[in-house]
Amino acid sequence: MSRREDSFFPNLEGRKRLDLIFKLVFFSANLVGLSVLLLLLGKIVRDSWGWLDMQFITSFPSRFPEKAGILPAIYGTVYLMIITALFAIPTGIAAAIFLEEYAKKSKFLSFIQVNVYNLAGIPSIVYGILGLTVFVRWLNLGRSLLAGGLTMGLLVLPVVIVTAQEAIRAVPESLRHAAYALGATKWQTVRYVVLPSALPGMLTGIILALSRAIGETAPLIPIGALTFIRTIPKSPFDSFTVLPIQIYNWTSRPQADFRAIAAAGIVVLLIVLILMNSIAIFLRNKYQGRIKEI
């Protein structure tokens, strides 16, 4: 190769080889995530093997791992999610409607928006301390389901707002114009045109927010979700425990058998999460692009 050609193709072979090597390096970075995921799932299934049965689902916690179960934790988790959803979904959607449809661009609007984004990044344990101070002490709700559910509601509120905003933003402007042209008021347009079209997107966001809430442990520790309760909560003012708290308690004990039932609890938690996410994906696929077809 002459010098002249050389300057046109400075070490092309070597550069291509380097490109290939790095392509493999970048690819294997993704394999790390996948292999850890498989390792983690394998480890948990193996640890829990033989422990996850009907007795485990239908029993109360116990000093003896072979008799212990997650019944109150399951009830606690379901009740907590109901309270969280009742609080966070209407508030979040209403806030999103206001921010997207009503508010005029202003300093205050962008302040609210920045505030929502930053609320999402506040450590969950800080929400727990907020809940302890405001709900447990100031409002005197005690260490109750209601206090826990409201705390969790505050935690997922920014997620609900942001995803609902995105869903509303995705509704084509032409639909609104059509409604206005027929003489609809602002609220009628929102209620009968925007909300129905944005609903699937909102639902996806809500499910994602709730699956975040189901797995959260830290915010409920200051609230004082108990781990050793022998009753199923009957009212929102009763004390409670949830799956992640129960798992935390069992994991933090040194005995291998408690670790095993912690793993069994994790399997239950992961199955619930997989179910919820499958519903979210199903909704997303079913309704994706439906508006464009019209």
Partner: protein
């Protein structure tokens, strides 16, 4: 049809309700700050600011007690740095592959795996750190403590990979195709395009993803509560048991600390510092990320 006066009242009423809901988020922030400050002021009546920030021991249960936050901050930073050492190269490499190399089919396979990793509850990561990663480390380095910053940091780093990967990928995807095409036209390889064109152009977005991941690591609680230990210590050795700010809060909250005691108030002081650090990081990170979304 002409709208009646009642209709207007209804419209205005609805708008008011929606506005209240939107302002609610600001109220939450206000309540966080108020509730932290109330107990913090009580704490700082008993412990001087000077002691809090310059004392090098954190031992609330000793007599006399010491309240220097340095060991808790140091423990937090130790775990966070380990987490960043794991997550920054892996997350960035993953993002480069997804944005520059991956064929569409493979992208659609890798993205869900990352989403699953991101959706796993932190308590599960904590379990994994304590029962798998720690024994593995102890098998390699026998002197390692059962509770150590390394195990918590490694697992936290893995947890952060999806966050860095997806935020960095967004930033890289936002780099206009024309820039890449110009470089290809000059005979650059993909690697050269990635390192000399795409990454520099997406730099602020990539840095923002690091900042947000850092903030997340500082505030992460369950992994460190299970795996990092509960011995506040000024050390650079990741094989020792340490305590993070979040770990201290959990430890006190699990005990029977009475309301109003100095130990109870100290939680608010630690949480206040935690809140301040994460809020500052998030403000910077989110500002950069959002500017990106608006420009392209």
């Amino acid at each position: 049809m002409i709208k009646s006066g009642k209709d207007f009242g209804r419209e205005r009423g609805i708008q008011l309700i929606l506005a209240v809901a939107a302002s609610f988020s600001v109220l939450v922030t206000a309540f966080i700050i108020i509730s932290l400050f109330e107990e913090m002021s009580g704490f700082f009546r008993e412990v001087s600011l000077k002691e809090f920030f310059t004392e090098t021991r954190w031992s609330p249960l000793f007599n006399p007690p010491h309240y220097g936050i340095a060991p808790l901050v140091a423990g937090t930073m130790l775990v966070t740095v380990v987490a960043m050492i794991v997550s920054v190269p892996l997350g960035l490499a993953s993002a480069v592959y997804l944005s520059e190399y991956a064929p569409d089919k493979l992208r659609r396979l890798i993205k869900p795996v990352l989403e699953i990793l991101a959706g796993i509850p932190t308590i599960v990561y904590g379990y994994f750190a304590l029962t798998f990663v720690t024994p593995a480390i102890r098998a390699v380095i026998p002197g390692t403590n059962v509770f150590n910053a390394l195990s918590a940091g490694i697992v936290m780093g893995i947890m952060l990979i999806p966050m860095i990967s997806s935020l960095s990928e967004d930033a890289m995807m936002a780099v206009p195709m024309s820039l890449r095409e110009a470089a290809y036209a000059l005979g650059a390889t993909k690697l050269e395009v990635a390192f000399r064109v795409v990454i520099p152009a997406a730099m602020s977005g990539i840095v923002a993803s690091f900042i947000l991941a850092f903030s997340r690591a500082v505030g992460e609680t369950m992994i460190v509560a299970l795996a990092a230990g509960s011995t506040p210590k000024l050390t650079l050795n990741p094989l020792e048991s340490i305590q993070t700010m979040t770990g201290y809060i959990v430890q006190v909250m699990l005990g029977d600390t009475p309301f109003g005691s100095i130990e109870y108030k100290s939680v608010y002081a630690v949480a206040g510092v935690l809140f301040f650090i994460t809020l500052s990081l998030n403000l910077v990170g989110n500002r950069i990320v959002r500017r990106y979304k608006e420009v392209y």
